[in-house]
């Protein structure tokens, strides 16, 4: 098993376990306070279709590369279905960063797979921050079976040819990222970024943005269903 996969898997298992414990209430709130960075849902969200998600912005144009090395227009992955998009990099281990987004998307995927009426109308997209490291082969290893073409819920693992190709996508969506410098001012392999997941309608308009505090799978599912009910 590749190191990246192990890291991600460990983080995800822990987060999933933590999430399950939150949901079940098996751990008292006080005991969770110092250990959990994952958001907690202490409310009943409004039912799908009872609220509106006004368009926030249009998804930018650009070129991306899939795990087969094919370069395609970004819109191919952000239109036609309701899309959940997250920027990531394969070696990110910040527990409330990429692994949290990954774990949440995976939870959403599993719950969608149980809803045949919704599953084929939704897709997930993970797009790398680091085209230098995350080439199509690396993204393929990272994705594993999740990228299967025959899955009802398609999950696209994408990268770009270069930082220059990535930049308009970052800027267009308002996703920050910066390179951590060491004490001598030299770049490290650490990327800092605000964790954001973008909910995009079938027309390619961003309809919701989730940062860590809002990344609750039940809310994401309701929002997806709200868009599908339009």
């Amino acid at each position: 098993m590749p190191a990246d996969w192990r890291i991600r898997a460990v983080a995800c298992v822990l987060l999933a376990a933590l999430d399950a414990l939150h949901t079940s209430g098996a751990i008292a709130a006080a005991s969770l306070e110092p250990t959990s960075g994952a958001p907690r849902q202490q409310f009943v969200p409004p039912a799908p279709g009872t609220y509106a998600l006004p368009p926030i912005q249009q998804v930018p144009q650009g070129r991306v590369v899939d795990i087969d090395g094919r370069e395609r227009a970004f819109w191919r992955y952000t239109t036609g279905r309701v899309t959940l998009l997250s920027f990531m990099y394969t070696y990110c281990v910040d527990p409330v960063g990429c692994p949290l987004a990954f774990a949440t998307l995976n939870t959403v995927r599993e719950r969608l797979l149980a809803r045949a009426d919704l599953a084929r109308r939704v897709q997930l997209v993970s797009l790398s921050f680091d085209p230098g490291n995350d080439d199509p082969q690396t993204m393929r290893r990272y994705a594993g079976d999740l990228a299967a073409h025959n899955s009802a819920v398609r999950w696209h693992f994408l990268t770009t040819r270069s930082v220059e190709a990535l930049k308009p996508l970052l800027d267009g969506l308002g996703q920050d990222v910066s390179v951590e410098l060491d004490d001598r001012g030299k770049p490290t392999r650490v990327l800092s970024h605000m964790m954001k997941v973008f909910l995009i309608d079938a027309s390619g308009r961003v309809r919701e943005i989730y940062s860590t505090a809002f990344l609750l799978s039940e809310v994401l599912l309701n929002d997806i269903e709200t868009l599908l009910l339009e």
Partner: protein
């Protein structure tokens, strides 16, 4: 900003250790949106002060003034930058975007919103956008509170274009400054409470899907001379008397609560899992607790007096400590700051007070609570006159028992103007991807 860790050699224990790390803070140093990233947990480098221009003083224009506040700097306690935006439009409050790259700052009279780039070089903010159609586009007047949502800015208005009274609403923009949506404050009868439709501050508790708003007064009153206003019995009837709990996701009002006396700033407890916020009612001089009851319903109740309400000390800004055990409360009329022990939010106790100046309005504290900054201006027409019209930025150190002044900058002597809202920034430790040098670094990595 959260740091990532090394890629290789990461063990189960390291991941476990990361999970056991302290929570990412759910709020900013003082009162920013909990969705603002890059919290400054250590020493802030700069304080940006949104300043009202004064006729006959300096260039007479509203401006964003940047003060170096790092004691290790050669420019400590000096104004290092001043950026005039042109004209005087009642500069008031500001707020960072979620990524803390931009500071939005509003004017209550001409309704302009200025967007400053702080992230590129916080020592030299740059004006990158001006939103001039807030009133025309929304029908609301007086963009007051700027509260970051992910990728968006939620702006609370104070008034409206129809009658310049207190009925108003909230507006959502995306981070590019493009209009997204508008929401009117509720009016009419809500479970026996008359919703006044007024607005002032915004506070969000994401774990509860709770958006809490307070209520002040309209343009007709906040632009009126204060001495004249308090003598105008009819005008004094037009102050907010409600707080509203909204369903944040749906952006729909859930409950209107009666809170007489113009409830102003909202401060949620920042402790994970807490379900309460405090506000100060300006005209009744009360601290009010908004908390869920045993059934989960939001209730508002008065929990303490602020000074002697009979003397109308006029509580203004408040600042909650990161551990939610202390609350600074400024009272404008007597120029005092008051520290309340809120370990039991049901029964706050004032344990300290100090006169900061002839008048004092805003208070902002560092994350560790050791540094407390004060500014002086309330509104151009409400500030005191003549010698009592002191305009300053002051820094005090707080050791838990006593405030000790570190520096005081006289904004009149410096030819700047009336000092109002403060926001902190720190020098960047990373290069941003939108920066050419960092792009090169990213490409070389």
């Amino acid at each position: 900003m959260i740091n990532m860790h090394i890629r290789s050699g990461l063990s189960f224990l390291v991941v476990l250790g990361a999970l056991a790390a302290p929570l990412p803070a759910s709020a900013d140093e003082t009162c920013n949106s909990p969705h603002t990233t890059a919290l400054i947990k250590g020493q802030e480098d700069y304080v940006h002060v949104w300043v009202l221009g004064v006729k006959g003083l300096g260039d007479e224009s509203d401006k964003l003034v940047t003060v170096d506040v790092n004691p290790a700097s050669k420019d400590y306690a000096k104004v290092v930058h001043s950026l005039s935006v042109g004209g005087r439009g009642e500069a008031h409050h500001g707020g960072f975007t979620d990524d803390r790259r931009h500071l939005w700052a509003g004017r209550l009279d001409d309704n302009k919103i200025f967007v400053f780039d702080i992230g590129t070089d916080p020592a030299q903010p740059k004006l990158v956008n001006t939103i001039a159609d807030f009133a025309d586009k929304t029908g609301f007047v007086g963009p007051h509170t700027f509260y970051a949502l992910p990728g968006r800015m939620l702006v609370q208005g104070l008034s409206n274009t129809r009658d310049h009274g207190g009925r108003t609403g909230m507006v959502v923009y995306n981070n590019k400054g493009e209009f997204v949506a508008r929401y009117e404050m509720p009016t009419g009868e809500h479970n026996g409470v008359a919703a006044d439709g007024y607005g002032y501050d915004i506070g969000i508790n994401p774990q509860k899907n709770a958006l809490l708003t307070s209520s002040f007064t309209g343009w007709n009153n906040y632009m009126m001379d204060f001495g004249k206003l308090v003598q105008d019995a009819e005008a004094m009837k037009h102050f907010g008397a409600t707080m509203v709990m909204w369903d944040l996701k749906a952006m729909k009002p859930q409950k209107v609560m009666s809170v007489p006396g113009a409830p102003l700033e909202i401060r949620w407890s920042l402790r994970d899992g807490d379900n309460w916020a405090l506000t100060a009612a300006a005209l009744t001089s009360k601290l009010v607790l908004i908390k869920q009851d045993a059934a989960g319903e939001w209730q508002a109740k008065t929990v303490a007096d602020i000074g002697d309400p009979a003397k109308i000390p006029l509580p203004v800004d408040i600042s909650i400590t990161a551990d939610a055990k202390g609350l600074w409360v400024n009272t404008f009329m007597d120029g005092k700051t008051r520290y309340f022990d809120i370990s039991n939010p049901e029964a706050p106790k004032q344990v300290y007070e100090k006169v900061i100046g002839a008048q004092v309005n805003m208070v902002s504290q560092s994350w560790d609570g050791k540094r407390v900054y004060f500014t002086s201006s309330l509104l151009a027409n409400w500030d005191k006159r003549d010698a009592a019209d002191e305009q300053f930025l002051k820094l005090y150190h707080w050791d838990g028992k006593e405030l000790t002044e570190q520096f005081a900058l006289d904004f009149y002597k410096l030819q700047l103007g009336r000092a109002h809202h403060m926001k902190f920034s720190a020098r960047p430790k990373q290069g941003a991807a939108h920066d050419a040098a960092t792009q090169a670094r990213l490409s070389r990595r």
